[in-house]
Amino acid sequence: MSLSQDSSRGNASGYEIVYASREFRTLRRRLGSFVVPVTVLFLGWYFLYVLTATFAPGFMRISVFGHINAGLCFGATQFVAVFAVTIGYRRWARRNLDPMSQRLRQRLESGRNR
């Protein structure tokens, strides 16, 4: 309860100890090594699509199957990418992020209640 209102130096030091700990650094590194490349890749794929639609509309009109053209397929890959990243991130976070952050949280909270 008092955690949300803390501002004194004494309380902050608990956070600093965790922040400097090896486990927290690992947590940060893990998060960064997934989220940063995936975000960059996905946004890159999105803007490639946007730029192709803007500056190469001829490519988007190439027929793939009947009236279904390259533009529609490229657009469909955006949906697929969103769903794939969503599912992938969820699984990855459950396996690699949640147990570690829960451990750290419990350690901090029990340390405070002493």
């Binding site: 803007f47 639609a53 949906f79 969820r90 952050s101």
Partner: protein, 545 residues
């Protein structure tokens, strides 16, 4: 023109439409009242006691996000301009990944009710809280205007209300209903209204989509062929360029729009505030997963609905109807299922507007009461009862402002107004949120520069763009300017959407303001912020637990 209106009006039987409308309104009111329960504490009123599950909240987020702009606007854009409308929907969806991976968990872990809470935890500066509140209120009002404008157009189509006074009265009625939801239901009631509405919307869209596909023999290729054959533009509707390919300015306008859409979702205050209605960060993430599934499936449906309307209704009839492209889906419903389906789809669209408007109102009122009143004016000393009272009064004021604004804004394209709100959100809100979580050197001055810089540049560029003046002919996508007099032209910014300039500028100003700040960032606060953001220690949990 009058012929088509009469066709939709007389065959669509306004009396039946009104009956179905009234039924939906009564049911949703009953839900809001029964769900409301006890709304005395700030946690109940703003965050539904943090007691919703991830799935419930995810569906409610879908209900909050899939506004009239999505349901009517995007399908309508596809019906008239083909592929370019589809491009819009991809931007609206893609932005959710930013929310999922960068914002949802840390936001839930470090705030209580508003995004200003997050900035306050990191920077402990009252002016920053005020700035965050100003940008939240601005974005919410932009978005609110869009919804109110959509309400007027929709109702005029469906209820046969054609004179201006009747439309104004409907906008006022929407405003009153929404104030009622928010006052009585608080966040809990609003959430349930959004859940019901999202379910209705999903079912309505799915049924209509399957119906259209069945007519085309369940062949997407055949549907596209029929649509292209029915369109005056022919096969061009299957590729990009009809709306945004006409000139260099319109091409860059489209890139600017795409940037605003993909980065705007994570800055929309009414979406972010919904993340506080769940008990913890894991549930917040789960909400976003549900929302992405719902939103993505929905936009796939709009593709079919849009091309279906192009084929079965035809551009000529859509152009001639009141509300133009916004009426494509209702007209398609009428074509397929006659009066009853039209009435149901129309009621779903109306429920959509009510639910989104209620969500926006509660966000704006929370921002004013929690950030401006309790945080800035009372310096955090306000008691919760008076804070909730202020929030309720604010909701009434915002409702009144939205009604008046909606009456003036009713002729502007809904999807377009929403896109402007995205641009302002991406410029004014997103940079400071990301910097707070992830950049150790971020300071209060950086936050102020970024928020006000993003806000002023985004809104300023809109004012000096063809949106407001100098485009009497309506070239390049957005339709004619607000000031239709061709002699008044103070536009010097060539693009309708400011994002391509204002978003990078806001990120840059956040950096510049921080590195030149004479008071450097406090590493202790950053440590506390990151530990709390990533572990959830100290986060406020469900009031039940």
């Amino acid at each position: 023109m009058t012929h088509v209106v009469a066709a939709a009006g007389t065959v669509g039987r306004p009396a039946l439409n009104i009956t179905i409308f009234a039924f939906f309104v009564l049911v949703s009111l009953a839900i809001a009242v029964s769900a409301a329960g006890n709304n005395r504490t700030t946690t109940d009123y703003y965050a539904g006691g943090h007691a919703f599950s991830g799935r419930q909240n995810g569906i409610a987020i879908g209900g909050d996000y899939l506004s009239a702009a999505s349901f009517l606007g995007i399908a309508g854009l596809i019906a008239l301009d083909g592929y370019d409308g589809f491009l819009y929907s991809i931007g609206f969806l893609a932005g959710w990944l930013v929310v999922l991976m960068l914002v949802a968990g840390p936001l839930r872990n470090t705030g209580r009710y508003t995004t200003a809470d997050v900035l306050d935890l990191r920077l402990r500066a009252v002016p920053v809280r005020a700035a965050a509140a100003v940008s939240t209120l601005t974005v919410s009002l932009f978005y609110l205007l869009a919804q109110m404008a959509g309400a007027g157009a929709l109702v005029s189509l469906l209820l046969g209300v054609r004179n201006a006074a009747g439309q104004d009265a409907t906008v006022a009625a929407v405003g009153l209903l929404m104030i009622f939801y928010v006052l009585v239901g608080g966040m809990k009631g609003t959430t349930w209204v959004q859940i019901v509405k999202a379910s209705l919307l999903a079912v309505g869209a799915a049924v209509t989509t399957v119906w259209v596909l069945a007519k085309a023999g369940f062949s997407l290729s055949a549907l596209l062929g029929h649509a292209a054959a029915a369109s005056p533009a022919g096969l061009a509707v299957l590729g990009p360029g009809l709306l945004y390919g006409v000139s260099t300015a319109s091409k860059f306008n489209f890139i600017s729009l795409s940037l605003a859409l993909v980065l705007g979702v994570a800055g929309l205050p009414h979406v972010l505030m919904r993340l506080y209605t769940v008990p913890d960060a894991a549930q917040a993430r789960r909400s976003v997963v549900w929302a992405i599934c719902l939103v993505g499936a929905f936009y796939l449906c709009t593709l079919v609905l849009g091309y279906g309307a192009m084929w079965l209704v035809g551009a000529k009839q859509i152009e001639a109807a009141p509300g133009k492209e916004n009426s494509a889906v209702p007209l398609l419903a009428f074509h397929l299922g006659g009066t009853v389906l039209l009435g149901v789809i129309a009621a779903v669209a109306f429920a959509t507007i009510l639910a989104v408007v209620a969500g926006l109102t509660i966000t704006a009122s929370a921002s004013f009461a929690h950030d401006v009143y309790a945080g800035v004016l009372r310096r955090g000393e306000a008691d919760p009862a008076s804070e909730v009272r202020v929030a309720r009064i604010t909701a009434v004021v915002i409702g009144a402002v939205a009604v008046i604004g909606g009456i003036f804004a009713k002729d502007i394209d809904v999807a377009f107004l929403v896109a402007l709100a995205f641009a302002v959100a991406a410029s004014a809100n997103l940079p400071s949120i990301l910097y707070s979580f992830f950049w150790p050197r971020f300071t209060a001055r950086g936050a102020l520069w970024s928020i006000y810089g993003g806000l002023i540049s985004a809104v300023g560029l809109i004012i000096f763009s063809p949106v407001v003046s100098g485009n009497a002919g309506g070239l390049g996508g957005a339709g004619p300017s607000l000031i239709s007099d061709p002699h008044i032209d103070f536009a010097f910014f060539p693009l309708d959407n400011p994002g391509i300039v204002s978003i990078p500028l806001a990120f840059f100003l956040g950096w510049l303001g921080s590195v030149t700040d004479p008071q450097p960032a406090d590493p202790v606060r950053f440590a506390r912020m990151q530990v709390r953001a990533l572990t959830g220690v100290g986060a406020e949990r469900s009031s039940r637990g």
